[in-house]
């Protein structure tokens, strides 16, 4: 019996991570209608940032400061992704992207001209083989920047009401890029992220409960409630308005840009929190996002991509189901539980579980 309770507690902890990622996905989905496959990877980046600031070799900041800065980074990063990548695809300006591309390419070109030379397919052209002094390559690069800017401005189409598929692919691409950025910046070794509470446990009856488990579950619950309240607020309502019917909302004078910026910031923050908690309770590693994003989407599906409580409960259910199935039946069944659940649920309720979900088809 205690065994079962033990498994349930473990399941709730795992579930809280699924739920949080799911919530992040739903927030972005509700307000900008983008299925963000990169959510977990963005969160992982923030988590690594927290670890690096607190435990990393270079910097030894106090834990809470590191968390504060790391979470701020998570929010800002989320906003940046929306600002640069998502805007053009959701009918907003493509200028930021053009500028970003121009600058980054300029930077790359300085490097290339200076030593490596341009890529294979043009480096046979005499003079592009690289090896220029810094000054020359600087000039060459700067000259090329406006061209890139104009090119991007011209060819990046601003698409209104683009369907989910390209957006999904865009975020998949982002996932890959972020994954390798993390590997480049933070290395590929798994890392232990020490929190003040990690390792401590207490007992209820003969059930052991770790403080990190309490923190994770508690945070999950708190964030879920916080989001629910937020979406009742003025801004929350506007967000939903944008998602339901972008153009009308814009006509009503709601600034879509700001709203979706906000939504992505919140999404990033929540995901960051999720991955940091997970890192503190288990370990930080490159693979963890890949495993978590699918579970997050499953939680979001169980909430019909709109209902926050539905998503939270969905995530928890998946977590507990895994743990209990693993403990009571066989651990080789555990990985399949989440998949079985979502498949069965979708067969039974094609519109998701919640009544709210039926109102909007994703």
């Amino acid at each position: 019996m205690s065994d079962l309770l033990q498994q349930i507690v473990a399941g709730l902890e795992a579930g809280s991570y699924y739920a949080l990622i799911g919530l992040a996905i739903v927030v972005v989905m509700k307000s900008t209608d983008v299925p963000n496959f990169a959510q977990a990877e963005m969160g992982l980046m923030a988590a690594y940032m927290c670890w690096w600031l607190a435990d990393g070799d270079e910097i030894g900041w106090p834990f809470w400061l590191a968390i504060l800065v790391g979470f701020a980074f998570a929010a800002v990063f989320g906003a940046l992704v929306q600002f640069f990548l998502i805007r053009p695809l959701t009918g907003l300006s493509n200028q930021p992207l053009a500028i970003l591309a121009a600058i980054s390419l300029g930077y790359a070109l300085i490097d290339l001209f200076q030593d490596n030379g341009l890529p294979f397919f043009i480096d046979w052209i005499p003079g592009l083989g690289g090896g220029y002094p810094l000054g020359v390559s600087l000039v060459l690069a700067i000259l090329s920047v406006p061209l890139v800017y104009i090119f991007m401005k011209k060819f990046v189409k601003k698409m209104d009401n683009v369907d989910h598929f390209p957006l999904l692919l865009l975020t998949i691409g982002l996932t890959f890029a972020l994954g390798s950025l993390i590997e480049i910046f933070f290395g590929n070794q798994p890392q232990k992220f020490n929190t003040p509470w990690s390792g401590n446990i207490f007992n209820i009856g003969d059930t052991r409960i770790g403080y990190d488990q309490v923190v994770s579950i508690g945070m999950g619950l708190a964030i879920a409630i916080g989001l629910a309240i937020f979406f009742r607020s003025k801004w929350g309502v506007r967000m939903r308005a944008i998602a339901e019917d972008g153009t009308t909302a814009r006509l009503l004078g709601i600034n879509a840009g700001v709203i979706s910026l906000l939504a992505w910031a919140i999404g990033g923050l929540v995901a960051g929190a999720a991955m940091t908690l997970k890192g503190g309770s288990t370990v930080l590693e490159l693979g963890s996002a890949e495993g978590l994003i699918l579970k997050g989407f499953i939680a979001a599906v169980l909430g019909g991509f709109v209902s926050l409580p539905g998503t939270f409960i969905g995530g928890m259910v998946v977590g507990v189901a895994e743990a209990v199935a693993g403990g009571q039946i066989s651990t080789s069944l555990q990985p399949t539980m989440a998949l079985l659940i979502v498949v069965i649920v979708l067969f039974l309720y094609p519109d998701g579980l919640t009544r709210e979900a039926k109102l909007r088809e994703v």
Binding site: H164, L169, G173, A177, V342, V362
Partner: protein, 392 residues
């Protein structure tokens, strides 16, 4: 305008070969007569003939990554074909019938494992006694490969149709998630096999040494190359025939005017399942070819990452474009080998390439020629060229 039509009409009447109705209107879209009309047939046959003889005419010799004179290059090209074949099937499903089914990593795995297990020799029947660690997975059913392959592909097609059942009920993104989960589920079931399928005599854990099928004793790589090429050609031809005939227009109807298909006597559900089945057949075939090239299969190769690779191939090449998958596969494998020794950078590049493709070239590389033709300054050039000719 109408005059022009009339003139064409006269020509059709004179052309005996063109099928017309009683009053002489052509029943099939009029083709330009002679070579011009057959251009695509000729080009595609030409390309495939060249590909078929590539191992003996190293025209890419200067190009290490795809140099057919070396096993290395040959293997890479074979991978390109396998990816392209799977991509063609994917194209029929996503690009043509507009159904967002993402179970293909799993189906791919089915093809690979199915052929490996069925065609492996019957040995080592007892889970406890045989030294499975020394001899990874050589226990199977001893079917000839050429028998196992079609069987596996057909079974995979049926399973694919089964996976497609949610398509009947689910909309867009829900469908994507459901099929994604089902695909993962298939891979999970495969990786349970050490325990689950021990009855099936495959008993070495999840990795399987793939029994190599030697085409006329031409060695592993050459036969892998030709199996991959066969998978590409077969899927390609099927794609062309189907998309240009009844199935094609029916799938289009299901995609564009699903609401109206009922009163036309078309069952939307049935045709969605057909699309799933066909693309699964292609995926399984590609998987088998991939396995022949890799000589070893492992569930970790068929996780979500493979699906993403297929999507990259599809998008880089161009969704719904005939040559898209082949072009995309070449670009993808090229990138992967060019930056092989700096994998960190590689995945960054693949990610960026995918994002740029979505933002800049939504129709993929295959659409570049059209885009060039339509772009203003090219047309301007053409006009100048014409006027110059006239004046001279």
């Amino acid at each position: 305008m109408a005059l022009l039509e009339k003139r064409n009409l006269e020509r059709y009447r004179t052309l005996a070969s063109v099928k017309t109705n009683s009053s002489g209107f052509p029943l099939y879209p009029p083709k330009a007569s002679g070579i011009k009309g057959q251009r695509r047939l000729i080009t595609s046959t030409g390309i495939f003939v060249i590909l078929a003889f590539l191992p003996w005419l190293p025209i890419l010799g200067w190009f290490t990554i795809f140099n057919p004179a070396t096993n290395y290059g040959l293997g890479n090209i074979a991978y390109v074909f396998a990816y392209a074949a799977a991509g063609v099937g994917f194209n029929l499903l996503i690009g043509y019938s507009g159904t967002l089914g993402l179970a293909h990593a799993g189906i791919f795995a089915l093809g690979a494992y199915g052929t490996a297990i069925l065609s492996a020799p019957q040995e080592c029947l007892d889970y406890d006694t045989c030294e499975t660690i020394i001899r990874p997975a050589v226990a199977g059913y001893g079917w000839p490969f050429l028998v196992a392959l079609p069987v596996v592909c057909i079974v995979a097609a049926l399973i694919g149709a089964l996976v497609g059942f949610p398509a009947a009920r689910l909309k867009g993104f829900y469908l994507a998630i459901a099929t994604l989960a089902l695909g993962e589920l298939i891979v999970k079931l495969i990786s349970l096999d050490a325990k689950l399928w021990s009855g099936l005599k495959t008993n070495s854990g999840t990795g399987k040494q793939v029994p190599i099928f030697e085409l006329f004793g031409s060695g592993q790589l050459k036969s892998a190359y030709f199996i991959s090429l066969a998978s590409l050609i077969i899927t390609f031809v099927a794609y062309v025939i189907y998309t240009e005939n009844r199935l094609g227009r029916t799938l289009k109807a299901v995609r564009d005017i699903e609401i109206a298909t009922g009163p036309l006597g078309i069952s939307g559900t049935y045709y969605k399942l057909v699309a799933f089945g066909l693309s699964s057949f292609a995926a399984a075939f590609a998987g088998a070819a991939w396995a022949q090239n890799s000589a070893f299969v492992n569930p970790t190769s068929f996780r979500t990452r493979l699906l993403v690779f297929l999507l990259v191939v599809l998008i880089l090449g161009g969704l719904g474009k005939l040559w898209g998958p082949l072009i995309g596969a070449f670009v993808f494998v090229y990138l992967r080998q060019e930056f092989q020794d700096q994998q960190k950078l590689l995945f960054f590049l693949i990610g960026v390439a995918l994002m740029l493709a979505i933002l800049l070239l939504p129709e993929g590389f295959a659409s570049l020629p059209d885009r060039m033709r339509d772009s203003r300054w090219v047309q301007d050039l053409r006009r100048r060229f014409k006027s110059a000719k006239v004046s001279s």
